[in-house]
């Protein structure tokens, strides 16, 4: 990291530096200022900007942080992917299984670690794609469940086409308007989905394995959650040395997973209980008796066109989900030096969607809670001592830790090796190791990743500020400049959006489970209603730009909102910083964050947290 060579790496030749600034539409008039007409301009600049760093992306990787990152990301990526697959397996007529999930994760890791402009964005299987897939199955099976593979294939093909159009027409530029308002809301929504999936996982243990299996699973899930949570709290405390604390936090998932999987095999009452373990099938073969290639040409033409709107929805979902995970992986708290490339990466996502469709595996995309964890695991943190002198005399000064992010090991190798590890997992012997894992551990993963996303979000922080007894609030807290009523309105807007998303994607299913009477209604609603949740999520950006400024003054927005990523190297790919109509310069955003960073330093990313 700190050798002279490395220090040079982020400074490519001067001639190329000019191109970093050159992707902009400022001072351009006529048809050339219309972004969607400048086909491929964003992609061209993305590649031109990043290509000079390619060699350093390999050379910079040889540090300990890369090792820690590979181990951590393998667990954080794989465990939820497998967990979602357990769910998807049950609910898509067993079409998608572990082999498909591993294949998809491995494909994404290979493609994105080698070809992506920004290899930090971890790509894999999300909860939303699992939700999407089984909702489509619910719709399709009303007509003919046997066409599901071909139908999904066409959804992938159409989705890929829309991806390519969006990427070529520079439409990722609009992501520069994504601020904390929308990305916190999305993070909170995803966290909620994770936790509710964890609960569903446990409920299904009761249904399939009976009381003993259900309760032992609840117990393991709770204790797994507490183990990792405690290890991470110790990691950010001031006990032992910084190095040892760091190790505990780096390998929290490894320690927790190995311990609790082992625990579930202790002979006696534990071993005797029947628990769901990861179902596996023959290595490298699809779960269903089929070849890898889907015979998409056999689908009725009518259905090909029915797949078109679903393909569009997939694109909408990924547009937001992938780009937000990319933004958060490059968020403001990470001192990144190498440039981003949203257009190119989105084009690449179209390619993986296409391939996944053709071979019948779940479509991978950017992992919202995990992508920033990747960057975090590659960040070199230093815990400094901050001594605040007080008036209480000598020795009474307050000593507190201030954590600084001094550098990020920006490279491709951690993503690539993690992909190799996933391919390794696809082989027979390691599949058998997977089979030893109880589903309860996955429920625990859902809880810890989901809570990481919710507990550390800005929504939570503002809510805690609101309930805190006024006299104990530091007087220089920037939120004191905004009336409580307005803070409440702000988080209410966010929470209403969360509730709406959850309502669409979860409640109907829940109603369906609880009251069989509503089953028919639920089915009916689902068809027209459910797959629309990406529309709602994406609507958050225009709401923020056009509606929110009517309710909040510029001074309030400067405190309440913040750019999700404000790094120049990131914004360069999006055509420069956004301008919100009628608001103060966006550069002033983030008063709250700067205040907190000055006081306490950056917070380490907990697994799954989007901000702070």
């Amino acid at each position: 990291m700190s050798t002279p060579e490395d220090a040079e790496a982020p400074s490519p030749p001067l001639g190329r530096m000019k191109s970093v600034a050159s992707y902009t539409y400022d001072n351009i008039t006529g048809w050339k200022s219309v972004r969607i007409l400048r086909i491929g301009r964003g992609m061209y600049h993305d590649v031109r900007r990043r290509l000079p760093y390619y060699w350093s992306d390999i050379r910079d990787a040889w540090t300990y942080r890369t090792v820690a990152s590979i181990v951590r990301m393998y667990f954080v990526n794989m465990l939820p992917a497998i967990a979602y697959t357990l769910d998807m397996h049950r609910r898509t007529g067993e079409f998608y299984g572990i082999n498909e999930a591993l294949f998809s994760s491995a494909l994404a890791a290979m493609v994105f670690s080698i070809f992506a402009v920004q290899p930090l964005t971890i790509v894999g299987i999300t909860g939303l794609i699992s939700l999407f897939n089984y909702t489509i199955y619910d719709i399709i099976k009303i007509y003919d469940p046997s066409i599901y593979p071909e139908f999904m294939c066409w959804v992938g093909i159409w989705g890929a086409i829309f991806h390519w159009i969006v990427a070529l027409c520079n439409m990722c530029d609009y992501m520069r308007y994504a601020t904390d308002f929308s990305s916190e809301t999305f993070g909170f929504y995803v966290g909620t989905i994770y936790i509710s999936k964890g609960v569903e996982e446990l409920i299904s243990e009761f249904t399939s394995k009976g009381s003993a299996g259900g309760f032992v699973s609840c117990m393991i899930a709770i204790l797994y959650f507490l183990t990792i949570y405690t290890l991470e709290i110790i990691g950010s405390s001031t006990v032992w040395t910084a190095a040892f604390r760091g190790l505990l936090a780096d390998y929290a998932y490894v320690i927790g997973t190995i311990f609790w999987v082992g625990f579930s095999h202790i002979p006696g009452p534990l071993k005797a209980v029947d628990m769901t373990r990861v179902p596996i099938s023959k290595a490298f073969y699809p779960t269903q008796p089929r070849g890898w290639l889907i015979h998409f040409w056999e689908l009725d033409v009518k259905w090909i066109f029915v797949a078109l709107p679903f393909g569009f929805l997939i694109m909408l979902l990924f547009y937001y989900d992938h780009n937000v995970s990319s933004l958060t992986a490059q968020a403001r708290q990470f001192p990144l030096k190498k440039p981003a490339g949203f257009h190119w990466d989105f084009f690449l996502l179209g390619c993986t969607t296409f391939i996944s469709g053709i071979i019948g595996i779940p479509f991978p995309n950017g992992l919202v809670p995990q992508a920033p964890v990747h960057t975090d695991s590659l960040t070199v943190y230093e815990t400094d001592l901050c001594v605040v002198p007080t008036d209480e005399g000598e020795g009474a000064e307050i000593r507190r830790p201030v954590i600084k992010a001094t550098a990020v090991v920006e490279q491709r190798i951690s993503h690539f090796v993690m992909g190799l590890a996933i391919i390794g997992t696809m082989t027979g012997p390691l599949l058998i190791v997977l089979h030893t894992m109880p589903a309860a551990v996955f429920a625990g993963v859902f809880f810890i990743v989901g809570w990481g996303s919710i507990g550390s979000s800005g929504i939570m922080q503002k809510a805690i500020h609101l309930v805190r007894e006024n006299r104990f609030v530091q007087r220089d807290e920037p939120l004191l400049n905004v009336r409580n009523r307005k803070i409440l309105l702000w988080i209410s807007c966010q929470l209403i959006a969360v509730a709406a998303c959850v309502a669409i994607s979860e409640t109907i299913a829940a109603i369906g489970i609880i009251f069989p009477l509503f089953m028919a209604l639920s089915k009916c609603l689902t068809e027209f209603y459910f797959p629309g949740f990406p529309v709602l999520i994406i609507a958050l950006i225009p709401i923020r730009v056009f509606i929110i400024p009517r309710w909040f003054s510029g001074d309030e927005l400067v405190v309440l909102d913040d750019m999700t990523a404000n790094n120049k190297a990131v914004l360069a790919s999006l055509g420069g910083p956004p301008t919100f109509p009628g608001e103060k310069r966006v550069q002033d955003y983030g008063i709250e964050r700067r205040h907190s960073e000055q006081k306490k330093g950056v917070d380490r990313q907990r697994a799954g947290s989007i901000h702070r």
Copy 2:
């Protein structure tokens, strides 16, 4: 609390004030300076000192704190008592049951709330007496289990006689040498016993009810623990208002118990699982088909004398256990104004031991983790704002809460009404309510009370100080004046004592359970070895007085140790403050505590914590 009348209450007529100071052996020579020859002198002064306050003990009670205290103590006293009884019931051939336990608790509450000098000391059934009772059963049943009731009766009679001798000969005076060294150690030991009892309770669920019952019990116990722990953390945070936070902490046990008992009855998988619930028998009758009076005159004379040493051990156990719980109930952090009376109260304990023996109920004594909780629940705390100016400019001063104990509602009514509530519980309808409670909740109570005793103990605080990264330790921390090696030696001495006590009272039983091969050995050892644990506990005081000063300098002891109770009103009953040979004046003790109180104020007692 703050009316003029109340303010007068703690100031009795001047003539009587003199007697407060008059129980001392300073400046007395000849046979009159030999404490044990001055029969009844301590008891006489105890009563003379306290009697003038008797009317105010009733008048002062009419405040809200008394109500909160009654509710809290009812739960904190009853739940562990019932839990221990479940254990004792199984292990004493079902001789002691719920009715006996309730009777014993009610008897103790009535006697001590009406006749005790210090009504704050909650008296009831402890874990150690349950341990004691079933160890004697283990010994007796080798010969003839049928004589157990009469034998225990004689243990009680002998125990009572020894109690009376100790009280009359002023031997409670030696308790003034009890410092944090011994009382922290004892608290840690008792906490360990509590937690291990919780685990045993859960294990017995697996043995008696199978996997489903066992795992659901584990789950409920863990969640019960987390519920109460979280409520207490919220209670000591700065969210909402001080009054609301206080309510949450006051009724944490009520909320937690009602919720989780209700939870265990939710129809579906929970209700379907067979869980152990509190076994009850006919109201007001002994569990065994017998009259309340034990026919102690029918015991063989040989056995009457075998009971003598056990009676002595009971006295030793209670000497330490009861007096330490009384000391901690009147510990330094409580601003008590009314005088203590150790001699009289110990005499009274002899009486309850005698009655309990005669009617065949477990002997009650002072409850170590619960007694300070009683005083705490009666303490009026105020959360003040402490603003520490810093050099970081205006608005950057640090605002933190400082908790002050402003007064204690010293009265008899809370103890008395709690006793009435226990008598109410003995009636048929309420026994049926008790029967709805799953054993898992009691395991949770053991965890929370046990951890309260361990987590907040000085041993733990010193251990955390040792592992903390040096640069983050405040420079004015008094422990920095003692070398780490010495701090380690100090807590090692304490932990070795804890380990020795646990080894004697637990490990042999555990070995017996795990390896049936060792059963015979265990039995054999138990007989000579186990009931000796009170000797070990009591040995801590002379160890502190004679051995510890050889290893630690006076300057170190001033930082490491502290008087458990340093209130003049308390020490008056023990013949004034102790003098340790060759050490600095004991008045300097407690540097660490004073430093912490100045910085952060007193810590609220958590349920079951002995100090801080």
